[in-house]
Amino acid sequence: MKKKDNILKKIANKAYEFGFVSKIKTEVIEKGLNEDVIRLISGKKNEPEWLLEFRLEAYRHWLTMEMPRWAHLDIPPIDYQAISYYADPLKKNKEKNKEIDPELMKTFEKLGIPLEERLALSGTAVDAVMDSVSVKTTFKEELKEKGIIFCSMSEAVQEYPDLVRRYLGTVVNYRDNFYAALNTAVFSDGSFVYIPKGVRCPMELSTYFRINAANTGQFERTLIVADDDSYVSYLEGCTAPMRDENQLHAAIVEIVVNNNAEVKYSTVQNWYPGDSEGKGGVYNFVTKRGDCRGTNSKLSWTQVETGSAITWKYPSCILRGDNSQGEFYSVALTNNFQQADTGTKMIHLGKNTRSTIISKGISAGRSQNSYRGLVRVSKNAEGARNYSQCDSLLLGDKCGAHTFPYMDIHNNSAVIEHEATTSKISEDQLFYCNQRGIGTEEAIGLIVNGYAKEVLNKLPMEFAIEAQKLLSVSLEGAVG
């Protein structure tokens, strides 16, 4: 028995395969947050005056705010003065020449994200972000030929200031919440995407976020604008080294969808979840929102969340345009001491707007997993429809699954459906698999993937395979 325990322990600790640290000379600014720090970040990025003012405004507002406490999360106190708000792995090298540190290239290669275009996954352009800086964006030129802009946010501020100014902060106002204000004050890099009228983006656009430096926070800022009659599929992946200290990731993603445009946003979130004792891990406090401004516009969020010590995240759709559609497909898996409070908001403002919510929670170990979702139908949203399905799967008896659906309906014509189930993987199911020669861990992987299939099917092919593996690996050691 003891031997078996040891093996399980080993597997549990081995499970996070992206936990390595790269030795890259990184310029990290002093810890702490004040107006000078914000000026320093803005200065480093050579930002225009309006953007600095925007940051400072947000910062001043942030000072008046408090951390949200309503989520079903136990968040230890965070010392915002003990975090460094800017880490640049490119800096030291840039001074010498324009080449990227080979160690940096190696890091992304190790993560399965080759940054040389000849090695790239077919049909995918990548923006690779490490700590506070975008390292490289591939296929930029090819995309430019179609008028598509895909670059880092810092670059967009320099190259397309008018576009950025027109849209930045219009979907997620800094007053929205505590982390949104913090992000607006100190945001570093992220991706900027603009799809012009009538263009169908010919490849998947993807951003890969990597935290590497210690004691730093990552404050990604992503803005996607899909103009009339356009289409884009965007993917986001994230990993971080294994560290005993917690690290803060507070991002904002804003999406604007105009008339007849469609955006698919997929995330495979695999930030370091902490060890099996609950030590370390990333705090993932993220505001993601899309504004379906145009008629017949469509936004679809798909997320597979396996990482982070604590997740606080509600990718939402504002269905402003008539006939606009919002979708949210989510698999959130928590193991060991992880906590997740995640879900969505579907805000129906336009007529005949439709939304679909499919949420699959999986809890193992001593983790706590909550779905929190809001469906709001405003007075003028004639003919709104929503379908919500929230399922929870429990592994073991020390974990928790919770569902908090909110409905706020102000129009009688709305049709709202809500279904929820809670199930357990039974001993009988596992034994049935064992009898057929399938080991318990593999059996759990099989059952969990079967349970999450509806959501995984929404992911682009290569991502779906990755996500399947990730779900199995994240549960290794979940039963003993």
Binding site: E427, C433, R436, G437, E442, L446, G450, Y451, K453
Partner: protein, 253 residues
């Protein structure tokens, strides 16, 4: 003939209650044994203990299978070594297609045997062949394991899995329960088609009707945790005519 399975003085408990009270049984390669007996005599316990169900504890005795100490093997390894149980109540596994399930099972076995995983083309070919053997609808094969299956479909799926895994010793636990006569015939025919000279079966049943189709070489009567009678196939008819009461009376102290 070699002994494929040798059970010596096997005692087993569930929740602290002794169900098997000293079983002795030897199955040689190629033999079909029927284990009959009234309800609650320990038939299902015996099959569960043989495949290593964790709810049961072996308190005494030994089991050798292909000369190996069976009780030391994990349930998976028992399966890889060719032991198969057709469950009395097959469980549903929502979201997992029979195809994926069988692929995982076959490749786990191949890994155990040091073989390469079966490639997709080959696998689908084998699936087709074995499906035909037990008349399993192709639509059924794409559905989740046992989910929403009728009683007959579940049992047919068990025999299909048996065909896929090609076991050396198959245990059919009350495979006839809940089947109408047509379903029973199809399932039994499937089992007979799979029979080879070197494979053996333990057919566990309360009634004689399954044994009209699957002919046993040796028949045992299990009562109160012990095998109280062993004879040739003629015992089946005798039990059918006289019921189990005379067995109970004979064994009353």
């Amino acid at each position: 003939m070699e002994n494929l399975l040798e059970i010596r003085n096997l005692h087993a408990t569930i929740d602290g209650k002794e169900i098997l009270k000293g079983i002795d049984l030897t199955v040689k390669a190629g033999e079909v044994h029927a284990i009959m007996g009234p309800n609650g005599s320990g038939k299902s316990t015996l099959s569960n203990v043989l495949v290593g169900h964790p709810a049961y504890t072996v308190t005494e005795g030994e089991v050798y299978y292909k000369g190996k100490n069976l009780l030391e093997l994990s349930p998976e390894d028992r399966s890889h070594e060719g032991l198969f149980l057709s469950f009395q109540y097959p469980v549903e596994i929502p979201g997992v297609s029979i195809t994926n399930f069988m692929r995982a099972a076959i490749n786990a076995k191949r890994q155990y045997l040091g073989q390469e995983p079966m490639n997709a083309t080959e696998f689908l070919k084998v699936m087709r062949e074995k499906r035909a053997l037990v008349n399993l609808d192709s639509k059924l094969a794409n559905r989740s394991v046992n989910e929403g299956f009728s009683g007959g479909e579940k049992k047919r799926n068990e025999i299909f899995q048996m065909a896929m895994l090609e076991p050396t010793l198959s245990i059919l636990d009350e495979t006839d329960s809940g089947l109408d006569i047509d379903a029973l015939r199809i399932v039994a025919e499937g089992v007979n088609k799979l029979k080879r000279e070197d494979t053996s079966s333990l057919v566990i049943t309360h009634y004689q009707r399954l044994l009209d189709y699957i002919k046993p070489d040796i028949v045992h009567v299990l009562y109160n945790g012990r095998i109280v009678k062993t004879a040739g196939p003629e015992l089946v008819m005798e039990l059918e005519e006289r019921g189990y009461d005379w067995i109970k009376n004979e064994n009353r102290q």
